[in-house]
Symmetry: C2
Subunit: 143 residues, 2 copies
């Protein structure tokens, strides 16, 4: 699986922002914590901005801050903001419609996708950014 590390980075960056709601964090500063390039962080922040999770300000003394309280941001929103895809992909090529299985399998798989997504939503929407920040701050990884 060529999994997405966007979500990990998003949680990391948002946890950084959660440290102070009124400070403008520079992409370069955030990048150093994530250990990557500032442009990579800005690309990610663009997605989070689009989802109204953060606000950015250009120009001198600019930067990015949370658009809302950490308590009012949950990880399901974060997941949706950075995951354009699904947990598993449907067939790349269309199955053989002359086969009774090939004919209907896609609809069934589509259903399964939605059900899995619901499962992830149920789990992730229970975590607020605040709670994640507290786990990180305390160094305890016990959910």
């Amino acid at each position: 699986m060529a999994a997405n590390s966007q979500f990990s980075m998003a949680v990391h960056v948002l946890s950084m922002l959660a440290r102070s709601k009124d400070e403008n964090f520079k992409s370069d500063y955030l990048a150093k914590s994530v250990n990557t390039n500032a442009v990579v962080v800005r690309r990610l922040l663009g997605q989070l901005n689009h989802a109204r999770l953060v606000m950015s300000q250009t120009g001198a003394n600019g930067g990015t801050r949370l658009a809302r309280c950490p308590k009012e941001i949950n990880l399901w929103e974060v997941y949706k903001a950075v995951n354009c895809g699904e947990v598993f992909a449907l067939h790349a090529k269309e199955p053989n419609k002359d086969c009774p299985v090939g004919k209907n399998i896609e609809a069934v798989l589509c259903c399964l996708q939605k059900d899995i997504d619901k499962g992830i939503q149920e789990k992730l929407s229970k975590y607020s950014l605040q709670s994640v920040f507290e786990m990180v701050a305390q160094g305890t990884a016990s959910a």
Copy 2:
């Protein structure tokens, strides 16, 4: 997300096998339904074989059949068999340990991974191969 289509193909192929427990299905025949190459199918069957979901027989008149009843195979097993990875990846590069967030974020993310996996398990383990086969056979995609 460069999502995995292995799971889709696995469900498709297993649904084919579920049609008859005592027949040896050739990889070439399965490939035509999936609309792909026989080698691709054999690679997948190798994983399913390793997970003890199917049994293969080499030689003339060989092929693959289910190792168990469709009722006793659930989709969580299938998912585990073909998904080596997780829903989201941890950081590719190690975060900056001098940063209080970077120091602990990985442990927290690891926890989240496990919780998401549990969510997927709860959903998928409810589906038996039998029930999937019936959905496909009836052409109804209503879970």
